[in-house]
Amino acid sequence: MGETVMSIFWLVIMLPCLIIIGVLLTNDAKPKKNIVLGVTLNYAGLHDKRVDAILRRFKRTVWIWCGVSSAAFAAMALLDMGQFIMWSIVLLIVAIIVPYVFYVRANRSLTALKKAEGWSVPHTGGVFVDLRAAANPAKPVKRSAFLPPVVIALVPLVMALCSADEAERLGGILMSAAIAFICLMCMLMYPLILRQRGDVAGPDRDVNAALTRVRRYNWTKMLLATSYLTSIFMLLFYLCMDSELWTLVLTAVYMFVLIGICIATEFTVRRTQERLTRDDPGYIDEDELWLWGMFYNNPNDRHLFINDRTGSGMGVNIGRPAGKVFMALTAALLVGLLVLCIALALGFSSPFEASIADGTLYFSHGAEKYEIALEDITGLDLIAKLPPARRVAGTGLPNLLEGRFTVEGYENVRISLNPEQPPYIVVQTVDITRIFALDSSEETEAFYEELQEAV
């Protein structure tokens, strides 16, 4: 598949992420349960011109940032495919984090204004529970509804175990494990949703019960849909694994449908919260328990996971030690991902280098480095065309194939080459087959001759 098509495909995936972030954050500026940008305001506060100005400024800044980030994405498309993908992931992470800085800034401005004006609601601080709503919970869905996707997950496993090809077997087992993991997570997450504190917007029991019901109903729908969609996608993906086009199309469809389901869930819940509490003068204020309006911080609450006050999301209680560990791990993961992407981007742009010294062949390209003793080489060849190959683990880009592949006619193969630049050198030892090339065809041919003489 061409580099341009891949770049467009990647842009089509990345750009909506920015729009989604923009829409989600700016939607937080609309009052739901009397909360705007994580600050609970009473009627006077919600209709104050200064509040309106802060909200408008916030929305404008977010959209300007999204526009700038989108332009940067488009400019990056001019880079090499590998570098484009890696740098765009780095940019995406930064582009998602920065608007939250705007959010915190607006939240602090609103909090300061609220404090200065003394905008208070009847119930401030503490934890609120609607006794009547808690006494009459909605009937949950049976756990067995989550079982069929887990069963579907077994299909690739059986097919993989029956396969004679080792790489295919490994790929199938990994695939099956991935499906089973996602489906199992959906199944295990469901009781967690039911155990969450119900929504409390005020003294009206019916409104509270409706808010809780809407949240749980939409979560149930989303978990079931994710479970079924993932299992069907993975099964189809496994069946079409040989076709690059179909795997790409399936992945795109799966991602768009999945993101669509999540967004639909979020906005259904938000719209309901907005509608049900539109005329509510404001009763409950839990702002003290929410750091920057975003992170729940209550050491006295046993819940590790906690519902966001608005929308359908869920966060971690950073007041608990496990919550702190969770947040630290998430931050570490994010930083790790950034470092990995930067390292890979730099690795992709590094040259292919090969040399022979002291009876050993040395090869390096980014993180892919190895050496082979010349006396261990059992076969050496220069091929003009790469036989049909399938990636098991590694990089598969239009201009770079690197990692473990299954290649027709060879056993246990590791590749490191630009598929648009033949020929390729095949070095076989008892344990492994290496196929590689250098930066240009001339260099590859010259090195092959040098290697042939040395062997």
């Binding site: 503490g126 934890v127 529970v129 609607d130 006794l131 808690a134 504190r197 003294p203 006295n300 609450d301």
Partner: protein, 125 residues
């Protein structure tokens, strides 16, 4: 009825739950026969240990404010209706009255406060 718990308060959580339910019954927000959440459900909703809720329910049951039925669950029993305060609360009221006297509050002023607090229960109903 909204149950409000102040997690930072020195009053134990089980006592806060007990007090809130008593206030709810007195104000009429919780009607006799009305079902209360199960111990597990209330503990999950409040984010507290089940033992805490169990202790609060145990106390309320002992005082006659709620009843527990194996099939019907926990429900509001209404006011115990003894027509008098127990020794514990009469003692507590004596201490509050003494403090009011020491604070310089007149008898009428204290009585007005008591009346207001007493009616607060009825007037919301």
């Amino acid at each position: 009825m909204l149950l409000c718990l102040d997690m930072a308060s020195k009053t134990p959580i089980y006592m806060q739950i007990r007090n809130e339910i008593v206030l709810g019954i007195a104000s009429g927000e919780l009607a006799p026969g009305e079902k209360l959440p199960t111990i597990r459900a209330l503990a999950e909703q409040c984010g507290v240990n089940m033992m805490t809720v169990n202790k609060a329910y145990g106390l309320l049951r002992q005082e006659g404010y709620i009843t527990t039925d194996r099939r019907g669950g926990t429900a509001v029993a209404g006011s115990p209706g003894a027509g008098a305060l127990g020794d514990k609360y009469a003692g507590a009221l004596r201490i509050i009255a003494a403090e009011a006297r020491l604070a310089g509050l007149s008898e009428d002023g204290f009585a007005a406060l008591c009346r207001e607090a007493y009616r607060g229960g009825d007037s919301n109903g």
